[in-house]
């Protein structure tokens, strides 16, 4: 069964550094998403991406976040200058629209 993949599985970075989280959505899916989950809390929506542009974003997704689909398969989330509070599990998801959203295994980000 096709699945969403994410790399790296874990990342440790210093406060103020830039990080790029990578995702490969399911190949025939059209909508792509990033969510995050701070330890012990619920999963929160960050941004959705369709037709090579952001379609929706939450209040969390401020100017230090950006997303890109640099080629036909990858979907990336960049955090420009990481803060301690960015430590979380980041999930990528994809779907064909109005159907099941499939989630990747997550990237656990720790900012020191």
């Amino acid at each position: 069964e096709p699945e969403v993949t994410q790399t790296p599985s874990h990342q440790v970075t210093q406060m103020g550094q830039e990080v790029i989280l990578r995702c490969v959505p399911i190949s025939n899916h059209l909508y792509f998403y990033w969510y995050r989950q701070i330890l012990g809390q619920k999963v929160e929506f960050l941004v959705s991406f369709y037709n090579n542009e952001i379609s929706e974003k939450s209040e969390i997704f401020d100017d230090q976040f950006s997303v890109e689909r640099p080629d036909g398969s990858n979907f990336t989330l960049k955090i420009r200058s990481t803060k301690l509070e960015d430590s979380a599990m980041y999930f990528c998801a994809s779907d064909r629209g109005r159907e099941t959203q499939y989630f990747g295994p997550g990237t656990r980000l720790l900012v020191l």
Partner: protein, 109 residues
């Protein structure tokens, strides 16, 4: 935004017992999914169920969209069922999922 409430927040079961988890939401939805988050943090799709009833082995789910709730039934629970169960919904007209705060299930042998 839409509010999603799950109950109970915590549940401890003896292996073999049955349970019902509830998800209430505050507005009309075009998507509702149930997930199981395993101890490694992965979100496992259980059901896509914006309305109606579905069954998959020992699990089944029912969503009554007009009354804005969904139920997840787990029968003959096993220790591997332990973890956090999340309900997530999309408001009508949107695509992103809003998650509830989850039910933490612990199944003891």
């Amino acid at each position: 935004g839409i509010q999603v409430e799950q109950s109970p927040p915590d549940l401890i079961l003896q292996e073999g017992a049955n349970s019902t988890l509830r998800c209430n939401f505050s507005d009309s939805v075009n998507n509702l999914q149930w997930f199981h988050q395993n101890p490694w943090g992965q979100l496992i799709n259980l059901f896509y169920i914006p309305s109606g009833t579905k069954q998959n082995g020992r699990l089944s789910a029912t969503t009554v969209a007009t009354e804005r709730y969904s139920l997840l039934y787990i029968s003959s629970s096993q220790t591997t069922d332990s973890g956090v169960y999340f309900c997530a919904v999309c408001e009508t007209g949107a695509n992103n999922l809003f998650f509830g705060t989850g039910t933490r299930l612990t199944v003891i042998p």
